[in-house]
Amino acid sequence: MKLGGAALLVAVVVGIAGAVVDVHGHLPPGGYAVVGVLAGLALVAAAKLVARAGLQRPVDPPREPGA
Protein backbone atom coordinates (compact mmCIF):
# COMPACT_ATOMS: atom_id res chain seq x y z
CA MET A 1 0.00 0.00 0.00
CA LYS A 2 2.99 2.29 0.59
CA LEU A 3 3.84 1.92 -3.07
CA GLY A 4 0.28 2.74 -4.09
CA GLY A 5 0.20 5.79 -1.83
CA ALA A 6 3.50 7.05 -3.18
CA ALA A 7 2.33 6.56 -6.77
CA LEU A 8 -0.91 8.39 -6.05
CA LEU A 9 1.02 11.24 -4.45
CA VAL A 10 3.37 11.50 -7.45
CA ALA A 11 0.43 11.47 -9.87
CA VAL A 12 -1.38 14.21 -7.96
CA VAL A 13 1.73 16.38 -7.48
CA VAL A 14 2.80 16.07 -11.11
CA GLY A 15 -0.77 16.69 -12.29
CA ILE A 16 -1.02 19.84 -10.16
CA ALA A 17 2.42 20.99 -11.32
CA GLY A 18 1.34 20.50 -14.94
CA ALA A 19 -1.84 22.50 -14.30
CA VAL A 20 -0.01 25.32 -12.49
CA VAL A 21 2.63 25.83 -15.16
CA ASP A 22 0.09 24.96 -17.89
CA VAL A 23 2.40 22.36 -19.43
CA HIS A 24 0.69 19.28 -20.74
CA GLY A 25 0.44 17.27 -23.92
CA HIS A 26 -2.65 15.81 -25.57
CA LEU A 27 -4.56 15.32 -22.32
CA PRO A 28 -5.51 17.65 -19.45
CA PRO A 29 -3.38 17.59 -16.27
CA GLY A 30 -3.51 14.16 -14.64
CA GLY A 31 -4.84 12.57 -17.84
CA TYR A 32 -1.83 10.38 -18.43
CA ALA A 33 -2.03 9.03 -14.87
CA VAL A 34 -5.59 7.91 -15.63
CA VAL A 35 -4.34 6.38 -18.90
CA GLY A 36 -1.66 4.53 -16.92
CA VAL A 37 -4.22 3.07 -14.47
CA LEU A 38 -6.75 2.11 -17.13
CA ALA A 39 -4.22 0.73 -19.62
CA GLY A 40 -2.46 -1.22 -16.86
CA LEU A 41 -5.68 -2.82 -15.65
CA ALA A 42 -6.78 -3.51 -19.25
CA LEU A 43 -3.50 -5.25 -20.04
CA VAL A 44 -3.74 -7.42 -16.91
CA ALA A 45 -7.31 -8.32 -17.88
CA ALA A 46 -6.16 -9.15 -21.43
CA ALA A 47 -3.39 -11.35 -20.04
CA LYS A 48 -5.89 -13.20 -17.86
CA LEU A 49 -8.16 -13.75 -20.89
CA VAL A 50 -5.21 -15.15 -22.82
CA ALA A 51 -4.46 -17.51 -19.93
CA ARG A 52 -8.08 -18.67 -19.77
CA ALA A 53 -8.05 -19.26 -23.53
CA GLY A 54 -5.65 -22.13 -22.85
CA LEU A 55 -2.39 -20.40 -23.72
CA GLN A 56 -1.10 -20.87 -20.19
CA ARG A 57 -0.95 -24.04 -18.11
CA PRO A 58 0.66 -25.18 -14.85
CA VAL A 59 4.28 -26.34 -15.04
CA ASP A 60 4.78 -30.04 -15.62
CA PRO A 61 4.78 -32.02 -12.38
CA PRO A 62 8.11 -33.75 -11.65
CA ARG A 63 8.29 -37.08 -13.48
CA GLU A 64 8.45 -40.33 -11.55
CA PRO A 65 11.74 -42.20 -12.01
CA GLY A 66 11.43 -44.53 -14.98
CA ALA A 67 8.25 -42.85 -16.26
Binding site: A7, G25, G31, V35, G40, L41, V44, A47, L55, R57
Partner: protein, 545 residues
Amino acid sequence: MIHPAVPYLLGALLVALGPVPLRRAVAVTAPLVALALVWTAPDGASVAVRLFGLTLVPLRIDALARAFAIVFTLIGVLGGIYAAHVPGRRFHVAALVAGAAGVGIVLAGDWATFYVAWEVLAVASFVLVIDGGTPAAGAAAIRYLLMHLLGGSLLLGGLAWIRVAGGSPAVGALEPGGAGTLVLLGFAVNAAIPPLHAWLTDAYPESSPAAGVLLSAFATKAAVYALARVFPGTELLVWAGCVMAVWGVVFAILEDDMRKLLGYHIVSQVGYMVAGVGLGTPLALSGVVAHAFCHILYKGLLFMATGSIVHATGRRRLSGLGGLARPLPAVAALYMVGALSISGAPLLNGFVSKAMIVSAADAAAAPAVAWLLTVASVGTFLSVGLKLPALVFGGPSRTGVASPVPAGMTAAMALAAALCVLLGVAPGLLYRLLPFDVGYVPYTGAHVIETLELLAGTTLAFVLARGALARKATITLDMDRVYRAAGRAVVRVGRGIERGAVALEAGVFAIVDAGVPSRRALASPVGYAVLVALGALGGFLVLVR
Protein backbone atom coordinates in the same frame (compact mmCIF):
# COMPACT_ATOMS: atom_id res chain seq x y z
CA MET B 1 40.88 -0.21 -44.76
CA ILE B 2 40.37 -3.21 -42.45
CA HIS B 3 36.87 -4.64 -42.20
CA PRO B 4 35.63 -4.60 -38.56
CA ALA B 5 34.73 -8.29 -38.88
CA VAL B 6 38.43 -9.14 -39.30
CA PRO B 7 39.45 -8.66 -35.63
CA TYR B 8 36.44 -10.76 -34.65
CA LEU B 9 37.42 -13.61 -36.97
CA LEU B 10 41.10 -13.46 -36.00
CA GLY B 11 39.96 -13.43 -32.38
CA ALA B 12 37.82 -16.51 -32.97
CA LEU B 13 40.85 -18.27 -34.43
CA LEU B 14 43.01 -17.32 -31.45
CA VAL B 15 40.33 -18.43 -29.01
CA ALA B 16 39.95 -21.74 -30.82
CA LEU B 17 43.68 -22.43 -30.58
CA GLY B 18 44.77 -20.51 -27.48
CA PRO B 19 44.74 -21.14 -23.71
CA VAL B 20 41.95 -19.96 -21.36
CA PRO B 21 43.53 -16.60 -20.27
CA LEU B 22 44.05 -15.66 -23.93
CA ARG B 23 40.41 -16.48 -24.65
CA ARG B 24 39.25 -14.04 -21.97
CA ALA B 25 41.50 -11.27 -23.25
CA VAL B 26 40.51 -11.77 -26.88
CA ALA B 27 36.79 -11.85 -26.01
CA VAL B 28 37.09 -8.17 -24.99
CA THR B 29 39.86 -6.86 -27.24
CA ALA B 30 38.48 -8.19 -30.55
CA PRO B 31 35.18 -6.25 -30.33
CA LEU B 32 37.09 -3.26 -28.91
CA VAL B 33 39.36 -3.16 -32.00
CA ALA B 34 36.30 -3.61 -34.23
CA LEU B 35 34.61 -0.69 -32.42
CA ALA B 36 37.67 1.49 -33.07
CA LEU B 37 37.64 0.51 -36.75
CA VAL B 38 33.94 1.35 -37.13
CA TRP B 39 34.31 4.60 -35.20
CA THR B 40 37.23 5.86 -37.29
CA ALA B 41 35.97 4.71 -40.69
CA PRO B 42 35.28 7.71 -42.94
CA ASP B 43 31.70 8.34 -44.03
CA GLY B 44 30.99 6.91 -47.43
CA ALA B 45 33.91 4.45 -47.25
CA SER B 46 33.40 1.40 -49.42
CA VAL B 47 35.44 -1.67 -50.28
CA ALA B 48 34.68 -3.88 -53.30
CA VAL B 49 36.23 -7.21 -54.30
CA ARG B 50 35.71 -9.55 -57.27
CA LEU B 51 34.99 -13.17 -56.36
CA PHE B 52 33.53 -15.97 -58.50
CA GLY B 53 32.52 -13.42 -61.12
CA LEU B 54 30.58 -11.36 -58.58
CA THR B 55 31.40 -7.89 -57.38
CA LEU B 56 31.12 -8.08 -53.61
CA VAL B 57 30.95 -5.01 -51.37
CA PRO B 58 31.65 -6.29 -47.85
CA LEU B 59 32.13 -2.79 -46.48
CA ARG B 60 29.90 0.23 -47.04
CA ILE B 61 29.80 2.88 -44.34
CA ASP B 62 26.92 5.31 -43.98
CA ALA B 63 25.15 6.71 -40.90
CA LEU B 64 22.63 3.85 -40.67
CA ALA B 65 25.28 1.14 -40.95
CA ARG B 66 27.69 2.92 -38.61
CA ALA B 67 25.14 3.35 -35.79
CA PHE B 68 24.25 -0.35 -35.83
CA ALA B 69 27.89 -1.44 -36.17
CA ILE B 70 28.90 0.75 -33.21
CA VAL B 71 26.26 -0.67 -30.90
CA PHE B 72 26.93 -4.26 -32.06
CA THR B 73 30.62 -3.88 -31.24
CA LEU B 74 29.82 -2.05 -27.99
CA ILE B 75 27.62 -4.89 -26.74
CA GLY B 76 30.39 -7.27 -27.88
CA VAL B 77 32.80 -5.50 -25.51
CA LEU B 78 30.28 -5.56 -22.65
CA GLY B 79 29.43 -9.19 -23.38
CA GLY B 80 33.13 -10.08 -23.37
CA ILE B 81 33.61 -8.47 -19.95
CA TYR B 82 30.45 -10.15 -18.63
CA ALA B 83 31.64 -13.54 -19.88
CA ALA B 84 35.20 -13.18 -18.61
CA HIS B 85 34.63 -16.01 -16.11
CA VAL B 86 33.40 -18.40 -18.83
CA PRO B 87 36.21 -20.79 -19.74
CA GLY B 88 34.40 -22.54 -22.60
CA ARG B 89 36.08 -22.39 -26.01
CA ARG B 90 32.81 -23.05 -27.86
CA PHE B 91 31.05 -20.08 -26.28
CA HIS B 92 33.78 -17.56 -27.04
CA VAL B 93 34.27 -18.75 -30.63
CA ALA B 94 30.51 -18.60 -31.29
CA ALA B 95 30.25 -15.17 -29.62
CA LEU B 96 33.04 -13.75 -31.77
CA VAL B 97 31.68 -15.28 -34.98
CA ALA B 98 28.22 -13.90 -34.14
CA GLY B 99 29.81 -10.48 -33.64
CA ALA B 100 31.58 -10.74 -37.00
CA ALA B 101 28.32 -11.74 -38.68
CA GLY B 102 26.44 -8.87 -37.00
CA VAL B 103 28.82 -6.21 -38.32
CA GLY B 104 29.02 -8.13 -41.60
CA ILE B 105 25.27 -7.76 -42.09
CA VAL B 106 25.06 -4.06 -41.34
CA LEU B 107 28.15 -3.14 -43.34
CA ALA B 108 27.36 -5.33 -46.39
CA GLY B 109 26.83 -3.34 -49.56
CA ASP B 110 25.70 -6.25 -51.76
CA TRP B 111 23.10 -8.95 -51.31
CA ALA B 112 25.52 -11.90 -51.58
CA THR B 113 27.69 -10.68 -48.69
CA PHE B 114 24.57 -9.75 -46.73
CA TYR B 115 23.08 -13.23 -47.17
CA VAL B 116 26.28 -15.06 -46.16
CA ALA B 117 26.61 -12.92 -43.01
CA TRP B 118 22.89 -13.45 -42.28
CA GLU B 119 23.26 -17.25 -42.34
CA VAL B 120 26.54 -17.20 -40.40
CA LEU B 121 24.73 -15.26 -37.67
CA ALA B 122 21.98 -17.91 -37.59
CA VAL B 123 24.51 -20.73 -37.17
CA ALA B 124 26.61 -18.87 -34.56
CA SER B 125 23.43 -18.01 -32.61
CA PHE B 126 22.40 -21.68 -32.79
CA VAL B 127 25.72 -22.59 -31.14
CA LEU B 128 25.20 -19.88 -28.50
CA VAL B 129 21.80 -21.38 -27.63
CA ILE B 130 23.11 -24.95 -27.55
CA ASP B 131 25.88 -23.73 -25.24
CA GLY B 132 23.21 -23.55 -22.52
CA GLY B 133 24.28 -27.15 -22.00
CA THR B 134 20.92 -28.68 -21.04
CA PRO B 135 18.66 -31.02 -23.04
CA ALA B 136 16.10 -28.18 -23.18
CA ALA B 137 18.75 -25.86 -24.63
CA GLY B 138 19.65 -28.46 -27.27
CA ALA B 139 16.01 -28.90 -28.31
CA ALA B 140 15.41 -25.13 -28.37
CA ALA B 141 18.57 -24.66 -30.44
CA ILE B 142 17.30 -27.11 -33.06
CA ARG B 143 13.97 -25.27 -33.23
CA TYR B 144 15.87 -21.97 -33.47
CA LEU B 145 17.93 -23.29 -36.36
CA LEU B 146 14.89 -24.66 -38.19
CA MET B 147 13.06 -21.33 -37.97
CA HIS B 148 16.11 -19.38 -39.10
CA LEU B 149 16.76 -21.78 -41.96
CA LEU B 150 13.17 -21.16 -43.01
CA GLY B 151 13.76 -17.40 -42.82
CA GLY B 152 17.07 -17.73 -44.64
CA SER B 153 15.46 -19.83 -47.38
CA LEU B 154 12.75 -17.21 -47.91
CA LEU B 155 15.41 -14.53 -48.09
CA LEU B 156 17.50 -16.58 -50.52
CA GLY B 157 14.43 -17.22 -52.70
CA GLY B 158 13.73 -13.50 -52.83
CA LEU B 159 17.34 -12.63 -53.62
CA ALA B 160 17.50 -15.27 -56.36
CA TRP B 161 14.30 -13.84 -57.82
CA ILE B 162 15.83 -10.35 -57.81
CA ARG B 163 18.95 -11.69 -59.52
CA VAL B 164 17.00 -13.55 -62.22
CA ALA B 165 14.81 -10.50 -62.82
CA GLY B 166 17.92 -8.38 -63.35
CA GLY B 167 17.50 -6.37 -60.15
CA SER B 168 20.29 -4.47 -58.45
CA PRO B 169 22.86 -6.55 -56.52
CA ALA B 170 23.27 -3.67 -54.05
CA VAL B 171 21.48 -3.83 -50.69
CA GLY B 172 18.82 -1.16 -51.09
CA ALA B 173 15.14 -0.35 -51.01
CA LEU B 174 12.66 -2.93 -52.33
CA GLU B 175 8.90 -2.87 -52.76
CA PRO B 176 6.76 -5.56 -51.09
CA GLY B 177 5.35 -7.88 -53.74
CA GLY B 178 6.98 -10.73 -55.64
CA ALA B 179 10.62 -11.02 -54.66
CA GLY B 180 10.20 -8.23 -52.12
CA THR B 181 7.57 -10.26 -50.26
CA LEU B 182 9.94 -13.22 -49.86
CA VAL B 183 12.71 -10.92 -48.61
CA LEU B 184 10.26 -9.22 -46.22
CA LEU B 185 9.12 -12.59 -44.85
CA GLY B 186 12.75 -13.63 -44.38
CA PHE B 187 13.35 -10.45 -42.36
CA ALA B 188 10.06 -10.96 -40.47
CA VAL B 189 11.30 -14.30 -39.09
CA ASN B 190 14.44 -12.66 -37.67
CA ALA B 191 12.49 -9.66 -36.39
CA ALA B 192 10.19 -12.07 -34.51
CA ILE B 193 7.01 -10.58 -35.97
CA PRO B 194 4.01 -12.65 -34.72
CA PRO B 195 3.16 -15.38 -35.55
CA LEU B 196 6.83 -16.02 -36.41
CA HIS B 197 8.19 -15.01 -33.01
CA ALA B 198 7.97 -18.18 -30.90
CA TRP B 199 11.61 -19.12 -31.59
CA LEU B 200 12.78 -16.10 -29.58
CA THR B 201 10.96 -16.76 -26.32
CA ASP B 202 11.73 -20.45 -26.77
CA ALA B 203 15.48 -20.21 -27.34
CA TYR B 204 16.84 -17.18 -25.48
CA PRO B 205 15.82 -18.30 -21.97
CA GLU B 206 17.51 -21.66 -22.52
CA SER B 207 20.88 -20.13 -23.43
CA SER B 208 23.60 -19.54 -20.86
CA PRO B 209 23.52 -16.19 -18.99
CA ALA B 210 26.43 -14.86 -21.05
CA ALA B 211 24.97 -16.03 -24.37
CA GLY B 212 21.61 -14.40 -23.60
CA VAL B 213 23.27 -10.96 -23.57
CA LEU B 214 24.59 -11.39 -27.11
CA LEU B 215 21.54 -13.18 -28.47
CA SER B 216 19.30 -10.35 -27.28
CA ALA B 217 21.39 -7.92 -29.33
CA PHE B 218 22.04 -9.43 -32.73
CA ALA B 219 19.31 -11.36 -34.56
CA THR B 220 16.31 -9.08 -34.06
CA LYS B 221 18.30 -5.85 -34.41
CA ALA B 222 19.98 -7.09 -37.59
CA ALA B 223 16.45 -7.57 -38.91
CA VAL B 224 15.46 -4.06 -37.78
CA TYR B 225 18.49 -2.70 -39.65
CA ALA B 226 17.50 -4.70 -42.73
CA LEU B 227 13.90 -3.48 -42.58
CA ALA B 228 15.04 0.13 -42.16
CA ARG B 229 17.42 -0.23 -45.09
CA VAL B 230 15.12 -2.12 -47.45
CA PHE B 231 11.48 -1.43 -46.52
CA PRO B 232 11.20 2.09 -45.03
CA GLY B 233 7.68 3.49 -45.28
CA THR B 234 5.96 0.11 -45.77
CA GLU B 235 2.57 0.71 -44.12
CA LEU B 236 2.01 -2.95 -43.27
CA LEU B 237 4.96 -2.71 -40.89
CA VAL B 238 3.27 0.05 -38.87
CA TRP B 239 0.48 -2.30 -37.81
CA ALA B 240 2.77 -5.32 -37.50
CA GLY B 241 4.86 -3.24 -35.10
CA CYS B 242 1.84 -2.20 -33.04
CA VAL B 243 0.72 -5.83 -32.76
CA MET B 244 4.23 -6.81 -31.64
CA ALA B 245 4.40 -4.02 -29.06
CA VAL B 246 1.11 -5.00 -27.39
CA TRP B 247 1.43 -8.78 -27.90
CA GLY B 248 4.82 -8.80 -26.19
CA VAL B 249 3.64 -6.98 -23.08
CA VAL B 250 0.46 -9.03 -22.66
CA PHE B 251 2.46 -12.26 -22.64
CA ALA B 252 5.18 -10.70 -20.49
CA ILE B 253 2.55 -9.91 -17.84
CA LEU B 254 1.58 -13.61 -17.83
CA GLU B 255 5.11 -15.01 -17.82
CA ASP B 256 6.64 -16.81 -14.86
CA ASP B 257 10.12 -17.35 -16.36
CA MET B 258 12.02 -14.07 -15.92
CA ARG B 259 14.27 -14.59 -18.96
CA LYS B 260 11.26 -15.51 -21.09
CA LEU B 261 9.55 -12.38 -19.78
CA LEU B 262 12.48 -10.35 -21.08
CA GLY B 263 12.23 -12.27 -24.36
CA TYR B 264 8.64 -11.07 -24.74
CA HIS B 265 9.88 -7.55 -24.15
CA ILE B 266 12.29 -7.92 -27.05
CA VAL B 267 9.25 -8.71 -29.21
CA SER B 268 7.47 -5.65 -27.78
CA GLN B 269 10.39 -3.22 -28.11
CA VAL B 270 11.26 -4.42 -31.60
CA GLY B 271 7.59 -3.68 -32.32
CA TYR B 272 8.30 0.03 -31.72
CA MET B 273 11.17 -0.18 -34.20
CA VAL B 274 9.14 -2.06 -36.83
CA ALA B 275 6.33 0.49 -36.50
CA GLY B 276 8.90 3.28 -36.89
CA VAL B 277 10.25 1.67 -40.06
CA GLY B 278 6.69 1.49 -41.37
CA LEU B 279 6.11 5.19 -40.65
CA GLY B 280 9.25 5.87 -42.68
CA THR B 281 9.62 9.61 -41.91
CA PRO B 282 13.07 11.01 -41.06
CA LEU B 283 12.03 11.40 -37.40
CA ALA B 284 10.66 7.84 -37.31
CA LEU B 285 13.75 6.30 -38.93
CA SER B 286 16.07 8.24 -36.63
CA GLY B 287 13.88 7.03 -33.76
CA VAL B 288 14.27 3.45 -34.98
CA VAL B 289 18.06 3.73 -34.96
CA ALA B 290 18.07 5.52 -31.60
CA HIS B 291 15.73 2.95 -30.05
CA ALA B 292 17.68 -0.01 -31.44
CA PHE B 293 20.87 1.52 -30.01
CA CYS B 294 19.35 2.17 -26.59
CA HIS B 295 17.45 -1.12 -26.56
CA ILE B 296 20.61 -3.15 -27.10
CA LEU B 297 22.17 -1.41 -24.08
CA TYR B 298 19.27 -1.66 -21.61
CA LYS B 299 18.13 -5.08 -22.78
CA GLY B 300 21.73 -6.30 -22.53
CA LEU B 301 21.78 -4.89 -18.98
CA LEU B 302 18.50 -6.63 -18.10
CA PHE B 303 19.74 -9.96 -19.50
CA MET B 304 23.01 -9.48 -17.60
CA ALA B 305 21.16 -8.84 -14.32
CA THR B 306 18.78 -11.79 -14.70
CA GLY B 307 21.73 -13.92 -15.87
CA SER B 308 23.56 -12.96 -12.68
CA ILE B 309 20.54 -14.13 -10.68
CA VAL B 310 20.53 -17.45 -12.57
CA HIS B 311 24.28 -17.73 -11.97
CA ALA B 312 23.86 -17.00 -8.25
CA THR B 313 20.75 -19.04 -7.50
CA GLY B 314 20.37 -21.55 -10.33
CA ARG B 315 16.73 -20.44 -10.71
CA ARG B 316 14.92 -18.35 -13.27
CA ARG B 317 11.23 -18.75 -12.39
CA LEU B 318 9.57 -15.89 -10.54
CA SER B 319 7.61 -18.47 -8.56
CA GLY B 320 10.91 -19.78 -7.12
CA LEU B 321 12.61 -16.45 -6.39
CA GLY B 322 12.19 -13.70 -3.81
CA GLY B 323 13.98 -11.46 -1.35
CA LEU B 324 17.16 -11.14 -3.42
CA ALA B 325 17.64 -7.39 -2.87
CA ARG B 326 19.43 -8.14 0.41
CA PRO B 327 22.00 -10.70 -0.82
CA LEU B 328 22.38 -9.13 -4.30
CA PRO B 329 22.01 -5.33 -3.79
CA ALA B 330 24.22 -4.33 -6.74
CA VAL B 331 22.34 -6.62 -9.11
CA ALA B 332 19.02 -5.23 -7.86
CA ALA B 333 20.15 -1.61 -8.31
CA LEU B 334 21.63 -2.18 -11.76
CA TYR B 335 18.58 -4.18 -12.84
CA MET B 336 16.39 -1.22 -11.89
CA VAL B 337 18.46 1.10 -14.10
CA GLY B 338 17.70 -1.20 -17.04
CA ALA B 339 14.05 -1.58 -16.02
CA LEU B 340 13.50 2.18 -15.77
CA SER B 341 15.34 2.69 -19.06
CA ILE B 342 13.10 0.26 -20.93
CA SER B 343 10.09 1.90 -19.27
CA GLY B 344 11.13 5.27 -20.67
CA ALA B 345 11.78 7.03 -17.34
CA PRO B 346 13.37 10.50 -17.57
CA LEU B 347 17.19 10.76 -17.37
CA LEU B 348 17.58 7.33 -18.97
CA ASN B 349 18.11 6.42 -22.60
CA GLY B 350 14.69 4.85 -23.22
CA PHE B 351 13.05 8.20 -22.43
CA VAL B 352 14.88 9.71 -25.38
CA SER B 353 14.52 6.99 -27.99
CA LYS B 354 11.03 5.61 -27.36
CA ALA B 355 9.53 9.09 -27.45
CA MET B 356 11.06 9.74 -30.88
CA ILE B 357 8.98 6.95 -32.42
CA VAL B 358 5.79 7.91 -30.56
CA SER B 359 6.31 11.56 -31.59
CA ALA B 360 6.89 10.45 -35.18
CA ALA B 361 3.52 8.64 -35.08
CA ASP B 362 1.89 11.82 -33.76
CA ALA B 363 3.60 13.92 -36.41
CA ALA B 364 2.49 11.49 -39.13
CA ALA B 365 -1.14 11.92 -38.02
CA ALA B 366 -1.33 8.35 -36.77
CA PRO B 367 -2.81 8.83 -33.27
CA ALA B 368 -3.95 5.19 -33.01
CA VAL B 369 -0.33 4.09 -33.45
CA ALA B 370 0.89 6.58 -30.84
CA TRP B 371 -1.72 5.39 -28.34
CA LEU B 372 -1.03 1.69 -28.93
CA LEU B 373 2.68 2.30 -28.35
CA THR B 374 1.83 4.28 -25.20
CA VAL B 375 -0.29 1.39 -23.91
CA ALA B 376 2.60 -0.99 -24.65
CA SER B 377 4.82 1.32 -22.63
CA VAL B 378 2.46 0.95 -19.65
CA GLY B 379 2.70 -2.84 -19.95
CA THR B 380 6.48 -2.62 -20.10
CA PHE B 381 6.76 -0.75 -16.81
CA LEU B 382 4.10 -2.99 -15.26
CA SER B 383 5.98 -6.21 -15.97
CA VAL B 384 9.69 -5.29 -16.15
CA GLY B 385 9.69 -2.32 -13.80
CA LEU B 386 7.21 -3.50 -11.17
CA LYS B 387 6.19 -7.17 -11.33
CA LEU B 388 9.60 -8.74 -11.91
CA PRO B 389 11.55 -6.71 -9.31
CA ALA B 390 8.72 -7.02 -6.75
CA LEU B 391 8.73 -10.81 -7.05
CA VAL B 392 12.50 -11.34 -7.43
CA PHE B 393 14.01 -8.71 -5.16
CA GLY B 394 11.11 -8.02 -2.79
CA GLY B 395 9.24 -10.19 -0.30
CA PRO B 396 10.63 -12.95 1.86
CA SER B 397 13.68 -14.93 0.76
CA ARG B 398 12.83 -18.08 -1.19
CA THR B 399 16.29 -19.24 -2.18
CA GLY B 400 19.89 -18.92 -1.06
CA VAL B 401 22.75 -17.49 -3.12
CA ALA B 402 24.90 -20.49 -3.94
CA SER B 403 27.52 -18.76 -6.13
CA PRO B 404 28.76 -15.18 -5.80
CA VAL B 405 28.35 -12.95 -8.84
CA PRO B 406 31.78 -12.67 -10.56
CA ALA B 407 33.40 -9.23 -10.70
CA GLY B 408 33.32 -9.25 -14.52
CA MET B 409 29.55 -9.66 -14.52
CA THR B 410 29.10 -6.74 -12.11
CA ALA B 411 31.55 -4.55 -14.04
CA ALA B 412 29.76 -5.18 -17.34
CA MET B 413 26.40 -4.37 -15.77
CA ALA B 414 27.80 -1.17 -14.25
CA LEU B 415 29.20 -0.09 -17.63
CA ALA B 416 25.92 -0.82 -19.41
CA ALA B 417 23.99 1.09 -16.73
CA ALA B 418 26.41 4.02 -17.04
CA LEU B 419 25.80 4.14 -20.80
CA CYS B 420 22.00 4.08 -20.24
CA VAL B 421 22.34 7.10 -17.92
CA LEU B 422 24.87 8.88 -20.15
CA LEU B 423 22.64 8.71 -23.24
CA GLY B 424 19.65 9.67 -21.09
CA VAL B 425 21.20 12.87 -19.73
CA ALA B 426 23.21 13.73 -22.85
CA PRO B 427 21.07 12.63 -25.80
CA GLY B 428 23.20 14.74 -28.13
CA LEU B 429 25.81 11.96 -28.02
CA LEU B 430 23.21 9.60 -29.48
CA TYR B 431 21.87 12.11 -32.00
CA ARG B 432 25.30 12.43 -33.62
CA LEU B 433 24.99 8.80 -34.72
CA LEU B 434 21.53 9.06 -36.29
CA PRO B 435 20.92 9.01 -40.06
CA PHE B 436 18.88 12.24 -40.06
CA ASP B 437 19.37 15.49 -38.16
CA VAL B 438 15.82 15.84 -36.86
CA GLY B 439 16.43 18.27 -34.01
CA TYR B 440 14.26 16.29 -31.61
CA VAL B 441 14.09 17.75 -28.06
CA PRO B 442 13.10 15.07 -25.53
CA TYR B 443 13.22 17.17 -22.38
CA THR B 444 10.14 19.34 -22.75
CA GLY B 445 7.91 20.03 -19.76
CA ALA B 446 4.98 18.26 -21.38
CA HIS B 447 6.96 15.11 -22.16
CA VAL B 448 8.45 14.86 -18.67
CA ILE B 449 5.07 15.43 -16.98
CA GLU B 450 3.27 12.96 -19.28
CA THR B 451 5.87 10.32 -18.57
CA LEU B 452 5.84 10.79 -14.80
CA GLU B 453 2.04 10.67 -14.78
CA LEU B 454 2.06 7.51 -16.89
CA LEU B 455 4.58 5.79 -14.60
CA ALA B 456 2.65 6.80 -11.47
CA GLY B 457 -0.66 5.64 -12.98
CA THR B 458 0.90 2.31 -13.97
CA THR B 459 2.18 1.85 -10.41
CA LEU B 460 -1.35 2.40 -9.13
CA ALA B 461 -2.63 -0.22 -11.60
CA PHE B 462 0.05 -2.62 -10.35
CA VAL B 463 -1.06 -2.12 -6.74
CA LEU B 464 -4.73 -2.60 -7.69
CA ALA B 465 -4.02 -5.75 -9.76
CA ARG B 466 -1.34 -7.20 -7.50
CA GLY B 467 -3.43 -10.27 -6.70
CA ALA B 468 -3.67 -11.15 -10.39
CA LEU B 469 0.09 -10.72 -10.79
CA ALA B 470 1.07 -12.99 -7.87
CA ARG B 471 3.58 -15.82 -8.21
CA LYS B 472 2.16 -18.76 -10.17
CA ALA B 473 4.23 -21.64 -11.56
CA THR B 474 2.96 -21.70 -15.12
CA ILE B 475 4.08 -22.31 -18.69
CA THR B 476 2.95 -20.00 -21.47
CA LEU B 477 2.22 -21.73 -24.76
CA ASP B 478 1.61 -18.68 -26.99
CA MET B 479 1.93 -19.60 -30.71
CA ASP B 480 3.34 -23.00 -29.68
CA ARG B 481 -0.29 -24.04 -29.20
CA VAL B 482 -1.02 -23.23 -32.84
CA TYR B 483 2.21 -24.90 -34.02
CA ARG B 484 1.34 -28.02 -32.02
CA ALA B 485 -2.21 -28.17 -33.43
CA ALA B 486 -0.85 -27.68 -36.96
CA GLY B 487 1.77 -30.38 -36.38
CA ARG B 488 -0.86 -32.82 -35.13
CA ALA B 489 -3.03 -32.06 -38.20
CA VAL B 490 -0.09 -32.78 -40.52
CA VAL B 491 0.53 -36.09 -38.77
CA ARG B 492 -3.18 -37.00 -39.03
CA VAL B 493 -3.24 -36.21 -42.76
CA GLY B 494 -0.06 -38.20 -43.33
CA ARG B 495 -1.45 -41.21 -41.50
CA GLY B 496 -4.69 -40.97 -43.50
CA ILE B 497 -2.77 -40.97 -46.77
CA GLU B 498 -0.69 -43.92 -45.62
CA ARG B 499 -3.79 -45.90 -44.61
CA GLY B 500 -5.48 -45.14 -47.95
CA ALA B 501 -2.41 -46.20 -49.91
CA VAL B 502 -2.08 -49.45 -47.97
CA ALA B 503 -5.77 -50.28 -48.49
CA LEU B 504 -5.55 -49.59 -52.21
CA GLU B 505 -2.36 -51.58 -52.50
CA ALA B 506 -4.12 -54.57 -50.95
CA GLY B 507 -7.03 -54.11 -53.37
CA VAL B 508 -4.73 -53.87 -56.38
CA PHE B 509 -2.94 -57.04 -55.43
CA ALA B 510 -6.25 -58.80 -54.99
CA ILE B 511 -7.29 -57.74 -58.52
CA VAL B 512 -3.92 -58.65 -60.00
CA ASP B 513 -4.04 -62.03 -58.29
CA ALA B 514 -7.49 -62.59 -59.77
CA GLY B 515 -6.16 -61.88 -63.25
CA VAL B 516 -8.51 -58.95 -63.91
CA PRO B 517 -7.47 -56.77 -65.62
CA SER B 518 -4.13 -57.50 -67.21
CA ARG B 519 -1.53 -58.52 -64.62
CA ARG B 520 1.19 -56.97 -66.78
CA ALA B 521 -0.38 -53.48 -66.81
CA LEU B 522 -1.01 -53.31 -63.09
CA ALA B 523 2.13 -55.04 -61.99
CA SER B 524 4.33 -52.65 -64.00
CA PRO B 525 6.12 -49.98 -61.91
CA VAL B 526 4.27 -47.12 -63.64
CA GLY B 527 0.84 -48.65 -63.27
CA TYR B 528 1.56 -49.50 -59.68
CA ALA B 529 2.79 -45.99 -58.90
CA VAL B 530 -0.29 -44.43 -60.51
CA LEU B 531 -2.60 -46.60 -58.48
CA VAL B 532 -0.77 -45.92 -55.24
CA ALA B 533 -0.91 -42.17 -55.96
CA LEU B 534 -4.64 -42.42 -56.69
CA GLY B 535 -5.08 -44.35 -53.47
CA ALA B 536 -3.17 -41.72 -51.51
CA LEU B 537 -5.30 -38.99 -53.07
CA GLY B 538 -8.44 -40.95 -52.25
CA GLY B 539 -7.29 -41.40 -48.68
CA PHE B 540 -6.58 -37.68 -48.41
CA LEU B 541 -9.98 -36.74 -49.83
CA VAL B 542 -11.73 -39.14 -47.47
CA LEU B 543 -9.83 -37.62 -44.57
CA VAL B 544 -10.50 -33.99 -45.36
CA ARG B 545 -14.11 -34.48 -46.48
